[in-house]
Amino acid sequence: MRAGRGPARGGDRAGNRGGSWRGLALQALLLAGLAALAYGAWANAADKLARQGIVAGFGFLERAAGFDLSQSLIPYAAATASYGRACLAGLLNTLLVSGLGIVLASAIGFGLGIARFSPNLILRGIARAYVELFRNVPLLLQLLVWYVAVRVALPEPRDPAAWRDAVFLTQRGLFLPRPDFSDWNALVPGAFGLGLLATLGLARASRRRAARTGRGLPLLGPGLALCLGLPALAWIGLALAGRPVPVAVPLRGPFDIEGGLALQPEFTALLAGLSTYTAAFIAEIVRAGIASVPRGQVEAATALGLSRAKALRLVVLPQALRVILPPLTSQYLTLTKNSSLAVLIGYPDLVHVMMGTVLNQTNQAVEAVTITMAVYLAISLATAAAMNRYNARVVAVGRR
């Protein structure tokens, strides 16, 4: 994108030489052709569906699904849940793995991208090797490696690796104690939310004070105290009030680990694969962004007496972020779309639920494909629209 140029089609407008009837005829022909094609396809599909005895329409979403999901964020009972509920559970699983993947990939990617500018030769080399290795091997193969090859190396379910009889690691997943946060116990996550809000308020106040006096408030210590201390207080308070938070500890059963919070191997493999793969691309974006900041900026910051870390945090990264953000968003979208590879290893995401199980059970091909594609399209277009607004506000202003 070049700054200071008109809209992309400006050049063609100038070349319009009044052949408008030809243009109109061409467009009419195009539309007619497409309409004929669409009608033909529709008629053929209707004919074939009628012959197979399939009722078109989205009514099937209310029928009982009758299949179980290995992971669901919402209550889901195989016997009673409808296809619509299965679809929703799949969508939430997609969002869960994408959201966590985005956080992890950003953390690894930014670390690697910054490491490319380290004065340490060997660290630079490692970061470069990581990027080249992970970028140039297909994600599908990497997922197979995480799911098959890494899992084989883990202990068998009968003989788990345990930590204090509370955390277990086997080929069937990672098992953690699960605290029960229903009814009154919801005070604990509530306290965490409150602490987070208070920290955000503190950050705002600090920024305002920094703008006025040049010196902000301490953030890290109070923030941590608020976010961790408040829930701890709520936990202790509940215990003192005679209703301690019950914690379901995983138990070693005769064949497998039972109870507790199970992180399934499908989920973990998908998360690990997605975040390590995308991190390589993010690292390249961050590297290009940092490289785009003029050298003089770093030199001026150093001349002012800022340390390397401070110059990076206060001078380089804020300027690089303008260049980084647009491609970074598109990487986030790519990660979300790539999470559909879940179908390969059996993690119940939207594609696995809709285009796998539901499609096979109901044969409602057109509807299942339409729903799945519409969901991804909606996510993509909404993100693109938000990004465009943000660009118009921040990036364009910064370039003036």
Binding site: R9, I126, L341, M355, L381
Partner: protein, 376 residues
Amino acid sequence: MSVVRAEPVPPSPPPRAVTGPVAWARRNLFSSLGNGLTTLAILLLLAWLVPAALRFLVLDAVWTGESGAACRPEIAGRPVGACWAFVAEKIGYLAYGAYPVPERWRANLFFALTALATGWMLWPGAPRRRLGAAYAFLILPLCAYALLSGAPWLGLATVPTGRWGGLLVTVVVSLVGIVASLPLGILLALGRRSELPVLRLLCTGFIEFWRGVPLITVLFMANVMLPLFLPGDLTVDRLVRPLVGIALFASAYMAEVVRGGLQAVPRGQEEAAAALGLTRPQVLATVVLPQALKVVVPGIVNTMIGLFKDTTLVSIVGISDFIRALEAARADPRWSAPSVPVTAYAFAALVYFAACFAMARYAGFIERRLAAGDRR
């Protein structure tokens, strides 16, 4: 009181070495305490990782053997690393799938023809590049089809696509994706910049639709909906369905790359060509597109890398590409040994890495060349 020094200033110590290995290490590896610790930590990690990988891949590896028994530690009587004997025996299957053995020379000839097209198109100083383009985009696809699926009038027996497999299918899918998506992408990019609103809207919608959905949903769609939309009992070959999906998907990405190139051509070029009396198609074909396409060669190659990696997804919809052939070979009970899965994946990673890394280096080389041209 005297302001003049009475005695000479003591000489400052000589500077520490600024050249030589010690100074180099100090500058690059141990410039500060944190740096030194990082270096040591990484070196410790490498000291643990590199010998382990070397032992697995080379020193403890099994190179020859008749079956999986050779790769079992309890039978071999020593720790066993990678089972290269497995790859050695299955290499034919990994390369050609179930393609009949006496006909495999046809697949080899196809590989050679593809290599010729690739070299012709990618080598910047190649002669007769117009002829090369005609060869790569017209003659090669037709020849490849006749060669691989059979042409009875030429004495080539018919081989159904169900028997194609392995690397052959991966190359076929990539080739079809590139050969179809480049012209289609150029048309779409031109359509997106057209002054006709309907055409512009349709092209924009088409591009944004395919870029907004994951490839795997496109492949599923091609699998279940393509047969539905065709009249009567017309069926589509199992291999052709994902090919259609991949071609449409890749053309949307290619269109965006080409559009970037079109935007980089200064408007004056177009106006000057129009002032010389060239018609609009002439302006596009002789002035705008040659300049636009030259700029986007790195972008096109990067799209090709993505496409090549994405071809692995056809294995999910039941096409026997390289990955699926690998999984099938791995499932052979005769070759069940603990290290076979890791060996198989290491081999596949090596193959894909070599191809993608080479393409990426090529894109970087062209990018530097273009940048050097701009600096004049």
